[in-house]
Symmetry: C2
Amino acid sequence: MPRIQHHRADQTRDRILHAAIREFSEHGLAGARTGAIAGAARVNKALLYYYFRDKESLYAAALEEVAGKVAGDAIAVLELDCSPGERLLRFTLQHFDRNLSRQGFQALMQQEMVRFRAGRSNAMQVIAKNAFEPMWDRAMNLVEEGIGSGELCSVDPMQMMYAALGANVFYFLSAPMVKLIAAINPLDPAAMASRRTTAIEYLGQTIFTDRRRGARLAKAVLAAMPMPENALPERKTA
Amino acid sequence: MPRIQHHRADQTRDRILHAAIREFSEHGLAGARTGAIAGAARVNKALLYYYFRDKESLYAAALEEVAGKVAGDAIAVLELDCSPGERLLRFTLQHFDRNLSRQGFQALMQQEMVRFRAGRSNAMQVIAKNAFEPMWDRAMNLVEEGIGSGELCSVDPMQMMYAALGANVFYFLSAPMVKLIAAINPLDPAAMASRRTTAIEYLGQTIFTDRRRGARLAKAVLAAMPMPENALPERKTA
DNA sequence: TTAGTTAGATTAACCGGTTAGTCAAACTGT
DNA sequence: ACAGTTTGACTAACCGGTTAATCTAACTAA
């Protein structure tokens, strides 16, 4: 269903889609208001139903858009022209930065995970097949390759991923709570920069057979990928 | 506010509260239906408004109930009569098991984190102060104590927590997706048991100055705390 | 004991507002 | 003229919340 739009304006469809992404991110499927989406896209509500079958289809489309972009970016990093270990460090750092600058997107994905676990969600299958499975395969191959060449420690690749990505997710997920009960604010740029550095350096020292090399690569990757400016305001792509 | 109810039945209030916990867990605040809650509690809808001001108050009450129970259990472990390191291992293992057997509760908390981050949620402050701050303080003191006595490595206590708890959260959060794209099912009892063991043993080898001692304590804790039976069906407390 | 009283607990029926979704008319570029 | 787009107006269903009435059981006074 590529939807061959000939002339001008199917940018309208895009405006709707991105307005939907934001609205769904902030309010969830049930909480989102179609009127609000239309308003944000500067479009009449009925137009939503011209481009999308119903609210849930729009939700699914928004989800696929996000997942596609996320997975695409990730795959680009996984196919970079450098050693498996370095690519893994970059992949993890990118994941942190995505949590940082695209908190709405992450929220959308997390909400969908809950929704899917609760039994609903038919969109999940599509996303998994088209977006995340290719990414997943590449990541796993990468780890195997790294272990095979002797660059990486021979531990279960999954455990490695859980530790690295889990810490990122949990950092931002718990941030609002931590801010309330601890002396620090995890969303403060300085705190984030610190955490970002620590996480990658820690990973560098954990997964490489040659720890010296891991530390050096971690530093190099951190230098090559500066932390994104954006913190909270969350503007859209387009 | 103990609510001095003289006679019989204020178990009704409890039925409503637990029905609400489940409904809100599965559908979120906006998605939950008051009618469904009343139905599940075998009670007329109007009775919800007899016991609770409105839907949001009920939601807040459900959240506080969950948070109180979670924090209470955690504090009990943190005050056990053993070394700080062992208590930390137990605390982390308990966290894993809570994710395992109370997935609805965790979903509720995670959704509220998202909600709070998006700006709404007045309940969060209360929960943080009454439930999580005491828990947090005890955990931090514990880590300091452990480092002071030389049992634990002298790393930032927070980084330690992020790695340990983050991996747990991410494991269950990503499980539905992983099930779709990988050959394994992370929610299969065998897989969970494996992950559970690995996580604690890994922590044991990471945070102790004496790694031998860490490994031994991890094994002991795993033996002392068997994995809960329950996997998915999710029955309530009562 | 008991008839009368009171307060809390529970319900059926209903209401007003909101929301997803529709439609026919109007506009636009070619 | 006309297919592709865009819109204001409309509706049917739903949902949170209210109301007035009923029921239950403990309390009270003779």
